[in-house]
């Protein structure tokens, strides 16, 4: 065990994956000698050479197109998109190609080896284009897996699982927590399951559900609520696609209430999908409408970022409203 931050945990996962399998390659803008603008790929080029860890030209559609080709050939590309806000030039390669490669060829070909890593999320004074949480766009794309870790231990285990999963995986890294989140991480090569949520605190009055950096926020809100005598069950979804309906539904059957929180805008956000499914599964058990605490239906602002964000106070108020419904 060692105390690592989230970046170090990611770096360690990449290191282990590259050491264990020479087909694993890491590349992207500034990923090579420099080790990435956040340093997630530090020292990988030194260790594994320029053929396996390298800078690409500045072209996201090229990076993912290239990665799709490599994956189809049988390699295991781990491509970095420098910020999730800059994934959109590669949207076509991801949505029309990565996601449909296996299906359209009747499984003659697949890009299952592909993993795309990208930092997402706000709270870092990044404004419109260094703050977005685009997970819902990709959740609307059958064929992809979408994963979001919340801490170093998860980041390492989920990333190793993503790299080895036989499907293309988008791995969204909460950049606000890159250095802020630290914790004990086993040195061993371990994997955490994709598609499974984790109940991180049991409770009886309401289920609070989030993923990634937003977990910290709902945990703080849960503490505020506990002081008012409200018992919160806190669940980390971990995988957005496919998502763990069973765990969430079982929790809601028990608590009778559900609050979902994400930074992305309300309309079309992934909370909507969860709410629809859970009301189908738990309709007669619900004590109050499913609550969504999210970003506004606007682009991500800068000066008024604090006002925009679904912070612990907004979650706390929504918890009280749900319980008092």
């Amino acid at each position: 065990m060692a105390n690592l931050n989230l970046l170090q945990a990611i770096n360690q996962a990449l290191d282990i994956a590259m050491a264990a399998d020479e087909r694993v390659l890491c590349f992207g803008e500034d990923v090579g000698g420099f080790g990435g603008v956040f340093r997630a790929t530090s020292h990988l080029q030194e260790k594994y050479g320029k053929a396996r860890c390298f800078n690409t030209p500045l072209v996201e559609q090229g990076i993912i197109g290239f990665a799709n080709g490599l994956a189809a050939q049988g390699s295991t590309p781990v491509a970095e998109i420098q910020f999730a806000d800059y994934i959109f030039p590669a949207f076509d390669q991801i949505v029309n190609e990565s996601a449909k490669f296996r299906y359209r060829s009747g499984d003659l070909f697949n890009v299952g080896g592909l993993t795309i890593r990208t930092p997402y999320g706000g709270g870092i004074a990044g404004g419109l284009y260094h703050s977005q949480s685009p997970e819902a766009y990709f959740a609307h794309t059958p064929g992809l897996k979408v994963v979001v870790p919340r801490n170093p231990h998860q980041a390492k285990g989920l990333l190793l699982a993503a790299i080895r999963d036989p499907n293309p995986v988008l791995f969204f890294e909460p950049k606000r927590l890159y250095r802020a989140s630290t914790g004990e991480v086993p040195e061993s090569d371990y994997q955490l399951p994709l598609g499974e949520a984790e109940v991180i605190k049991e409770g009886s009055d309401i289920t609070l559900l989030a993923w990634g950096a937003q977990m910290e926020v709902i945990e703080e809100a849960a503490e505020l609520a506990e002081k008012e005598g409200i018992s919160c069950e806190v669940v980390d979804l971990r995988s957005i696609l496919p998502w763990d309906v069973e765990t969430v539904a079982n929790s809601v059957l028990k608590t009778g209430r559900l609050l979902i929180s994400h930074e992305a805008p309300l309309t079309g956000g992934f909370a909507g999908e969860i709410a629809a499914t859970i009301q189908e599964r738990c309709f007669l058990y619900l004590e109050s409408p499913i609550s969504r605490v999210t970003g506004l239906d606007t682009p991500f602002p800068l000066t008024l970022e604090k006002e925009y964000l679904p912070d612990r106070l907004k979650v706390f108020e929504a918890i009280k409203a749900s319980v008092a419904y």
């Binding site: 404004g127 239906d297 800068l302 108020e317």
Partner: protein, 408 residues
């Protein structure tokens, strides 16, 4: 119909493209004298000094604002340092009504157009006078009255937009063109290629100005492309192209004048590749010691474009040490004073969160705003920027309105 007229040959000959070697246009030596056989461009004293002032202002602003970022006054900053000649020399060759669509490191062009120090500061501090209403990170300037399109962080997106904008100018027949700036890194994006192809196909009055400053963050140009820079790509699109010493303001100015003539009079798009160097870090978040040597930086510091122009101005008897001293002092004071004032101004009002998403806020947005207002009333101390503003409401001028142009 095809555009290809090709003869048949009967042995397989592969072309290397070596016949396209591209020279660099240069007029001014570092000591401020002209190269032998070089004639100075048509540039009078007033214009030369306007260019010089903008260059010095940009340098002073950059130094001061980087320091402000280090002191924690500002979240982020990007310097133009080392590239002032490329950016300002080209802007000076245009008509002030021509459109500028920049990447982000071209504050010098905006300064040349007359964006005031106060306007720069209001954007950087995202206060209630920022035209962009505090929504974008520092240095994402824009000015409708100065024909400077608001900066967008996603790279290269402005390049095909410039082709479209200029096509509209051509149809309008107003005799104007568009210049778009971008780095050699951004030129790797698909948008760059789309833009150049569409520009020659549709005969568009647009100037593509590449600042080849050697690096895209940590990635050196040699890892960005294998070719001889960005310039040779023009041939693939049948576009006119010139490479110029980007630290030579006279050469940049003359090359861009000629490019503008081709664009506006003949609807011929042009690619200009300015060879220069990003002397500063990529941004305030970057530390170049991780990817390049001090020695390399020093070698380029010797080629300072501002000093080069200053020496030429002095050789024309258009500039003196006393004037230099006075200008430096005046600009430093102005930058410091306007910064302090801008930093004190309040944030934009809360409703700026939901305006401009559409022409008018939707019912959902109004509802979300009302809910947010109620929430802030409950916890005013948690949202000091908007809560403190509530009590001051009414005193502020129209936020975002482009108020009088403070000349400089």
């Amino acid at each position: 119909m095809t555009t290809t007229t090709s003869s048949l040959v009967h042995s397989p000959a592969f072309l290397k493209g070596d016949e396209f070697s591209i020279d660099t246009f240069a007029l001014l030596k570092q000591d401020g004298s002209l190269f032998e056989g070089a004639a100075p461009p048509d540039l009078d004293r007033d214009k030369a000094l306007r260019i010089y002032h903008a260059m010095v202002f940009t340098r002073v602003l950059d130094e001061r604002m980087l320091a402000a970022q280090r002191q924690g006054r500002l979240s982020f900053y990007m310097q133009c340092t080392g590239e002032e000649a490329a950016v300002i020399g080209s802007a000076a060759a245009l008509d002030d009504e021509d459109m500028i669509m920049a990447q982000y490191r071209e504050q010098g062009a905006l300064a040349y157009r007359g964006f005031s120090c106060d306007e720069f500061m209001n954007q950087m501090f995202g206060n209630e006078r920022d035209y962009g209403k505090g929504r974008q990170m520092p240095i994402h300037y824009g000015s409708a009255k100065l024909n400077y399109m608001t900066i967008s962080s996603p790279l290269a997106t402005q390049i095909p937009q410039a082709t479209g904008y200029a096509y509209g100018q051509k149809l309008a027949g107003d005799g104007h063109c568009t210049i778009t700036y971008f780095g050699e890194g951004a030129a790797s994006e698909g948008d760059f290629h789309a833009a150049l192809n569409m520009a020659t196909v549709h005969k568009v009055p647009v100037i593509f100005f590449c600042r080849n400053n050697g690096y895209a963050i940590s990635t050196p140009a040699v890892e960005q492309f294998a070719a001889d820079g960005v310039a040779p790509r023009a041939f693939g699109y049948k576009m006119r192209v010139i490479r110029v010493d980007g630290n030579d303001v006279l050469a940049v100015y003359q090359a861009t004048m000629e490019a503008r003539r081709l664009a506006v009079e003949h609807n011929q798009p042009v690619l200009i590749e300015a060879m220069t160097y990003r002397l500063a870090a990529h941004s305030s978040s970057d530390d170049p010691s991780g990817y390049r040597s001090k020695k390399e930086e020093e070698a380029w510091r010797e080629k300072d474009p501002i000093l080069r122009l200053r020496r030429w101005l002095e050789s024309c008897d258009w500039w003196s040490d006393e004037e230099e001293k006075a200008l430096q002092e005046r600009l430093r004071r102005e930058v410091l004073e306007t910064m302090k004032a801008a930093q004190k101004r309040p944030a934009p009002p809360l409703d700026s969160l939901v305006t401009d998403v559409y022409d008018t806020p939707t019912p959902q947005l109004n509802e979300q705003l009302a809910k947010l207002e109620a929430h802030i009333r409950l916890y005013p101390e948690a949202y000091p920027k908007s809560a403190s503003r509530r009590s001051a409401e009414g005193s502020a001028g129209a936020p975002g309105a482009e108020n009088g142009q403070g000349g400089r």
